[in-house]
Symmetry: C4
Subunit: 366 residues, 4 copies
């Protein structure tokens, strides 16, 4: 029975190639950060309000002037066709049907144009919320071409991953010998004739993790596009301040699901200092370990405008394609709605730190 | 051997239909709040006093001018006939014989009038302590009729559950497919001819979880009855203050046994701020996780006037009807008495925060 | 191999009747206090000193003008003949040979006179350190007669247990049906012709847990004897202050090995406030959970003059009579000596709170 | 697959005599300090910096004017030939090839001269970083002769172990009956004709743990050698201050891998106060529980200049001789490099306490 994200994960695990399951589920090192992302939520105990009369909740949030039906977006994750033959087309359809945001990954196994087209097909108003996640590539011409493609395809914001100067070391993948996509799958956004340095013989460009990147690259990006720019992976309050100074439009507090550096703070632990640092000047989102409606409420209570979910979407995708992703999104919607109702909130705007009670003195097992 | 509440639970589990056991034992979501209710007590370590000469303890407490023989009442729980054929009649008899308070649930499988009559039959002085718990229904005429019935039947206070604008999601029940009472059982207080909207075809009105409810409904209630009004489920100190302002007579700090919203603070963790907020103007009770006499002492030490126990009573009911409930109540009485004696206290009034030692730095397993 | 107290316990468990093992090992309620007594030590991390040149340690401490060879005494425990046929005679011989203190229990299965005689036989200087533990009985004439016997037999202090206004509830004993000593064993100090009220038909007086007792009884005791008086079981700093005011000569911080009230603070957690309250005016000892030389050092660091060990001695007794107890005592001596040496201390006097490092942020499993 | 130190340990365990494995893996008492050394790192959560442009990391650190290729040295450990026939020659070769520091143990099973000669053979520049660890022996003439040998052989610093006035009690060794090196192995640095008191009949001098040692011995050492002197095992900030005052040149914060006194603070917990005490006047290193590149970063963040690893090197040695040690060192290099990169640091100098986030409220399992 699919009552919880854990149910979806169990089903997905049963249908996926174990090596691919490990790719999605695994993380760097001892995976302590992956685990902490989830358990850190549990330590924040809620103190609901009563008699607020909010029988009609509105889960909607607004991001850069665009309305989402709920504060739960789809986080960018790679290789959706590894989870299900329909891949990103299924995911984007589910997001569009749910009227929520999909952040499309540069490492999609479908082109960003096809994804956007599919989203438009299923969006209730034909205008789906779509952001494009990318690693800024040292080949600036290529990077710019990608951005122009995203702009052209109707993406409404760019999410620049900044926590990956080098690849994280995911031991499950090493143990499994998982390196390449199986035949027939490739990073479709990176296929091209004119391959710069680093391109493989297969006609597909490799994604370069560029450790030379500095804030100047953000300035360059700022200069060449009018799309809102978000940074994904800024966890340090000092970097949050720098982001504001460099004209960044939003932050996605993320530790890459624990997949880059094990030992990093859980995102919900890092959130408060980031929120304090930006002081309301730009919106802050969060991903990492969000599994329950109450996790969403906790993130909102600590100042996030919305959250994004990655692995849960992949489990839904694996078990049921677009319908499966849709089920997961409706599970979250239902769970957030119930959590808001039971906290006495009419919607995300009613949620603040007053809903959080005293931290327990000791540990709580989940 | 029935030495502890856990013994009663084990026996009850053996005799109950597993689906019904899960209904009683289960809670919302991951059940972390249900678990925290119990473990949070353990983190409060006692520092007994010595040589107080209290060989004669008086466990009695007074609530709204009425004496209870001990600070342990029966919390309102639904469907007692699901636990035992004698249902609420057994529970109320045990409470009356023990000279303690029974809070009768609106969702009883026996009418409130029959329950009160049975209680009068067994109360040592013919005047049993009885409160009536209800969900204020949007059909105010019906709600008022219920209140008049409770007044007429001799109930001495109304306990309004305010933590349930919507139903909590109890996953065990979903997995078990438990939805309806078995044939022959129904919410007897809700049977009637003139069924308003929401009534089912069976002639039994459904209980409406009313998310439109605000403090105005409390004001309405305040205006139509002279019975003391308590709110069950106020956990936030701000709501405690509002309750005082709206003429509420008492608070039952409760998280519905973890059955409404998982992730909510343990009641013993929420208690101190509520007690501080009401500042002695109205009495504060607590339910949730009370399993030992020392738990009762801890709640008293943090400012509760009395506690209520729910699941333990159901286990007693399941294993032995009225006699089983009586055993559970006497177990608590004996355990509270011993705990008071060993703390050097002559009774509940001797218990204050001075009995609590330093919190341990780390966790204590139970 | 008998390297640790745990080794002795395992061997003892193998040779003892399981019911008797449970009587010695068990404690009240959930036994969380029994467990906390041990684990609370682990949370105190040591910061040794170096280059102190203390190749010759002197473990000796002085209590009321009498030298002990080490700061580890034998705590009073009942029924030694239940552990080994030689009973208290074996225990006292081992203590005398080790030149340390034995606190003889009122509930000994050997008379206090025989114990003292045996101790004198084996004490290196013929003058063994012996204290007598008692529950002050409501029959004052009998209590005084006991005290006169202890004085006459050469006991040098009285240890009055004050944490037992009523019996604790030890669930293992209830489950095992353990109530009476087996035939042939009895509380030999309580045998007499003129049995007051409460005496059983067997010619043996029952020990009365007297909840009427107040500080006046301590004043009475103070008036009738010149022996130093210690209170066993004072945990609250306010009671420590009262003890000083009532002329008490020392405190044994104890929670009765967790056997009276479960949920009470670990003794090492309660110690600092007691030490602060008496402010050096009277010596403070501790029992409860001491299993390693480093536990002794931690107690000394927090202000105890010495510690007492109960269960470890019983395990030694069970496995080897006097020789077994001797082994346990020498194990402690060796372990304390090594711990002192490795902390850079020449003896107990060198140990203070400076040896304790920062508390770890989270838990440490043992 | 050898991805982690744990992998090497598992392989080593499979090839080593279990008794020898226990000798290397075990520690004193309950081994809680050994365990805490590792788990205490996990509680320090990282907050990486972004967009620092550090594509070229330089892991090098300088110690007493000598460059190491990375901040990970080989801690002194005894009996390398017990782990592998090539013994210390293999270890030193790997260290030399990795251009990092080896701290040679006095209890080596190869002479310090042979070790130094082997190191020179494999050092890229013929000038390997070598320090000599010793226990100052009460036979000062012998101690001085050892120091002259170390000076003559080109060792660049002396590491004086000061946490061992007596031997720690390692229960695994006692249970295994492990006392002597097997035939053919001996402490080669201690072989000599003129054996002073304490020499065994075998022509090999025993290492004396000298509890008489005071700071005067350090002064003596200071007077007879111009080599930098480090103390290994100073954990208390007061001793750190004394070390500076006595002309000590550096500290290696160590608890002997938990092998001396169980219950001692984890080294990463003790580090901050030691760093604060020396206030930058002398460099501070750390060993104990370092298993991951992120552990190295955490130690640097709290003020260590470099760390040393002991057991991981022994596991590498056991599984593959010099090549195995080399693999372990390169594993650390790679892991530190990745951790630095992902923290946005160009090298050890970029690492400070700003990289550490808020401590989690509760425990994190590894």
């Amino acid at each position: 029975m699919r009552l919880t994200v854990a149910d979806f994960e169990a089903e997905a695990r049963a249908v996926l190639d174990p090596v691919h399951y490990d790719f999605f589920a695994g993380a760097a090192g001892d995976e302590s950060t992956r685990q902490a992302n989830e358990t850190a939520f549990d330590r924040l105990r809620l103190l609901p309000r009563i008699l607020r009369g909010n029988d009609k909740r509105d889960l909607g949030v607004s991001l850069f002037g665009r309305a989402l039906s709920m504060p739960v977006a789809i986080a960018p994750t790679a290789f959706h066709r590894l989870a299900h033959p329909d891949g990103e087309l299924a995911t984007t359809r589910a997001a569009a049907e749910a009227s929520t945001l999909m952040i499309v990954a540069m490492a999609a196994t479908t082109t960003l144009e096809q994804i956007a087209e599919e989203a438009r097909k299923y969006a209730t108003d034909g205008d789906p919320a779509l952001w494009f996640q990318l690693y800024l590539q040292p080949d600036l011409a290529f990077t710019e071409s990608l951005i122009r493609r995203a702009e052209g395809a109707g993406y409404q914001a760019l999410v620049v991953t900044v926590d990956s100067p080098v690849f994280g070391r995911r031991e499950r993948d090493h143990r499994n010998g998982f390196r390449d996509l199986p035949p027939g799958l490739r990073c479709e956004n990176l296929v091209g004739d004119e391959l710069g340095p680093g391109g493989s013989g297969s006609g597909v460009r490799d994604i370069v993790m560029d450790a030379t990147m500095t804030w100047e690259r953000i300035d360059w990006l700022r200069a060449i596009t009018r799309l809102p720019i978000l940074l994904k992976g800024a966890l340090h309050p000092e970097d949050a301040r720098l982001a504001v100074r460099h004209g960044v439009d939003g932050l996605l507090v993320s530790n890459h699901g624990g997949r880059q550096l094990d030992g990093v703070a859980a995102t919900i632990e890092a959130l408060p200092a980031v929120v304090a640092a930006v002081a309301g000047r730009i919106p802050v989102l969060l991903d990492g370990g969000v599994r329950r409606g109450t996790d969403v409420v906790r993130a909102l209570a600590l100042g996030a405008v919305a959250v994004a979910v990655g692995r849960p979407v992949l489990w839904g995708l694996a078990v049921g394609g677009a319908a499966g992703v849709g089920e997961v999104l409706e599970l979250f919607r239902d769970d957030v709605d119930r959590a808001l109702a039971l906290c006495g909130a009419a919607g995300p705007r009613d949620v603040d730190a007053g809903l959080l009670g005293p931290a327990p003195a000791g540990p709580l097992s989940r």
